[in-house]
């Protein structure tokens, strides 16, 4: 019973605090760039405004265009139930292992790309093609990083992996260093962060993620944006679960929950600070340099796998 409650709590927390995390990241970025931030709560105001606006459908679009925002949002909410954020061994955890989880992210991406191509506008199609270019290269890197973790714990279930890593406490694993570096690069690429894509761009020619949303408005746009914010939180949560798992306890040990609830915001805040720093320090890559970036990520993932076999840890 408590496990189901925890599960529900985790999904709701992720869904409703995702705009706050994205807002915090935006505010930190603004401060680091000597701009005045709009405040951490700006994303909630934006979403509220969008939900109260009329949602227009572009002429000639099919049901895919209307369905995609719900499909994407649903996929990310389901993923929020699978990833061990508050505790391991949650009821939804056996639903998908890491491979299926990556597949779930891919499903959301396919919806987004198809919906963008459905509109038939050149910019949206361009964005869709670019998204697939990045995604096709990022996915193997992500899988390689995740497999390194699953080699260590001899399981592909994220819940089991995290439980195993949590038990090891402060053991040092060289292979996980490589995996962490690879995962961080994938995180930047998949969430339209700066070396690959600029989340705040208004220039259509350089857009990747934003270009796909150009035809959306009203509540559909709100769901898309909210989905993207949840996706960012999920990636950060996977990163925390794999590389800083201390404090994520089995669902049965409810007594340790207050400590988890205390540690988690700190970890997320640290992640936001690191992301903001990276986005301030790095310049956006040319699109044709992006494959190079992803190749490096893939390579790091593979080296992680190899060094596991060489060093045995």
């Amino acid at each position: 019973m408590t496990a189901i409650l925890l599960e529900g709590m985790q999904i709701l927390l992720v869904a409703f605090l995702a705009p706050l995390f994205a807002g915090l990241l935006r505010a930190l970025r603004a401060i680091l760039q000597n701009r005045r931030p709009a405040g951490c709560w700006q994303n909630y105001r934006d979403l509220y405004r969008l939900f109260h606006k009329e949602s227009l459908q572009a002429e000639g679009t099919s049901w895919l265009f209307r369905f995609a925002p719900y499909g994407i949002f649903g996929a990310f909410c389901l993923a929020a139930g699978i990833i061990p954020i508050l505790a391991t061994g949650l009821p939804l955890a056996p639903a998908a292992d890491v491979i299926a989880l990556v597949g779930l992210f891919a499903l959301a991406r396919v919806f987004q790309v198809l919906a963008a191509m459905d509109t038939g506008t050149p910019f949206a199609t361009l964005g869709a093609h670019r998204e697939m270019l990045i995604a096709g290269l990022a996915e193997p890197a992500l899988l390689a990083a995740l497999f390194t973790a699953s080699l260590l714990s001899r399981s592909t279930s994220l819940s089991v992996i995290v439980a195993h890593l949590e038990q090891l406490r402060f053991a040092l694993h060289p292979s996980m260093v490589f995996a962490a570096a690879a995962f961080f690069m994938v995180l930047l690429a998949e969430n339209a962060r700066i070396p690959v894509d600029n989340p705040a761009t208004h220039l259509e020619l350089t857009m990747i993620h934003e270009a796909m949303l150009l035809e959306y408005s009203g509540r559909h746009l709100a769901l898309m944006e909210w989905g993207a914010q949840i996706k960012l939180v999920l990636y950060v949560a996977i990163g925390i679960a794999l590389f800083l798992p201390w404090g994520i306890v089995p669902a049965a040990e409810i007594a340790a929950l207050p400590l988890t609830l205390l540690a988690l915001p700190l970890k997320f805040a640290a992640a936001a600070l690191i992301l903001a720093l990276v986005e301030t320090l790095l310049a956006k890559l040319r699109l044709f340099r992006a494959p190079e970036f992803m190749a490096t990520a893939f390579l790091l993932g593979v080296i992680g796998l190899l060094s596991f076999f060489m060093l045995g840890a």
């Binding site: 053991a171 040092l172 694993h173 060289p174 292979s175 260093v177 490589f178 570096a181 494959p291 190079e292 190749a295 490096t296 390579l299 790091l300 593979v302 080296i303 190899l306 060094s307 076999f309 060489m310 060093l311 045995g312 840890a313």
Partner: protein
């Protein structure tokens, strides 16, 4: 050269982590386009090397290794990168590295080299019973990657960085895999690397005077008149 049980629990994993960092830095150098960042990465590699040597000194209690760690830190992490940095400014070399192969292909070749190195080191690993046996493969991989960097780069400065990275890899193999080596050998190697470096520095200036460029392609066209 015995290691205490306490050292085994945290010291060896830490040494493994440093080995992994060394490999990571070598790969970062292979992927890097900017000369300035390349030199910074070389400095970081020197730091990791010094930390590794200091750790081995701490674990085995060999006092001369402390000296060697200090020497590595001053020479490889501070002195050589600083001199390279100044050379770069004096020679006014443009920032980009000219690669013969494109970077993703070089990186893929790098993966193949790492697999080859690990495969090559596997029998050695199986033969020895020391706790640090995995390091041989990593150090060998680092050396081969530095070779690859020397092969795929055109500018003279990046070749020198590659040369120094080879030296770093060998040094790491010597200190970490075998837990230290005699002082005489170490001093000799350090001096060799330094002298090689000085000669190459002079060579840079000669080259610029003759060709007005740092591109090694020009050397292929030298003919005796």
């Amino acid at each position: 050269m015995t290691i205490t049980a306490q050292g085994l629990t945290w010291g060896i994993p830490l040494l493994r982590l440093l080995a992994a960092l060394l490999l990571l830095l070598t790969f970062a150098m292979l992927a890097q386009r900017r000369l300035l960042t390349l030199i910074h990465l070389l400095a970081w590699q020197g730091m990791v090397l010094a930390a590794g040597t200091a750790l081995v000194a701490l674990l085995t209690g060999q006092s001369e290794l402390w000296f060697s760690a200090a020497l590595t830190l001053t020479l490889k992490a501070i002195l050589i990168p600083t001199v390279l940095h100044r050379l770069l400014r004096r020679l006014q070399v443009r920032g980009d590295v000219e690669a013969v192969l494109n970077i993703p292909l070089t990186l893929l070749a790098g993966i193949a080299l790492v697999i080859f190195a690990f495969f090559l080191a596997a029998p050695i690993t199986a033969l020895t019973g020391t706790v640090t046996r995995g390091m041989v493969g990593i150090a060998l991989a680092a050396v081969l990657l530095a070779f690859l960097m020397m092969i795929t780069r055109r500018k003279a400065i990046s070749q020198v960085v590659g040369f120094l990275a080879i030296d770093n890899g060998l040094f790491f193999a010597a200190t970490s895999a075998t837990l230290g080596m005699p002082m005489v050998v170490e001093l000799g190697v350090a001096l060799d690397a330094l002298i090689g470096f000085v000669i190459l520095g002079i060579f840079f200036f000669q080259m610029r005077e003759t060709f007005d460029s740092m591109d090694l392609q020009h050397l292929e066209q030298i003919r005796e008149e």
